[in-house]
Symmetry: C2
Subunit: 120 residues, 2 copies
């Protein structure tokens, strides 16, 4: 999935040591953004923004991905004409061991409990 | 610490099954609220709002405690003339095992890394 070289302008990302816990929690606190993160974690590969089919407008989708990128939760790169997204799992696990996994597990439990079919 | 009987009107709290992951993450995503939660976890007893000495106005302090209560992170009761606060650890651990501990550990690591002296 990462054979296509990156193209175009590079998007700004925080370095690992600039990633803050509060910003990460804020990024994960939104249902749409949590859904994006769960899907990225489940797939384990880069996905384009349009792969998610979120039930919100394109501009809202762009906003959610920007919040995730600026908080350090995901990395976004242009490949060809697509903006591709990947979870920064190594950075998050290095900074906050177990945090991402516990949030993902909590989201799974909540989906099961509510029977909302949002499990990924 | 809980010998004084509760007094006055009861404040509204979500039942355990009404506590949502996104609301909990949002409540924890603020530096002042995270500080309150860390101190409650470290002390392990009820504390009054004024015990925290937060560097914000009284109305902002009240707001932060209300967000924590309404999200299900803390329980607030009146005892005598004081409003007392306790972490809803049993409820949170029951719903989302390991989540609170991983957030507390992440906050400790961040404080150590930044040397901000906010460790509690």
């Amino acid at each position: 999935m990462t054979d296509t070289p990156t193209t175009g302008r590079a998007l700004p990302h925080p370095e690992r040591e600039e990633i803050g816990l509060e910003a990460v929690l804020h990024a994960l606190a939104d249902p749409m953004r949590l859904r994006i993160v769960r899907e990225l974690a489940a797939e384990g590969v880069e996905l384009s923004c349009s792969d998610f089919g979120l039930p919100v407008t394109k501009s809202t989708t762009t906003h959610h991905f920007r919040v995730l990128r600026e908080s350090g939760v995901i990395r976004q790169v242009y490949r060809g004409t697509a903006k591709m997204n990947a979870l920064r799992r190594d950075d998050l696990d290095g900074l906050f061991p177990g945090l991402l996994d516990s949030v993902l597990a909590a989201a799974d439990r909540q989906s099961l409990r509510l029977g909302d079919g949002a499990g990924v």
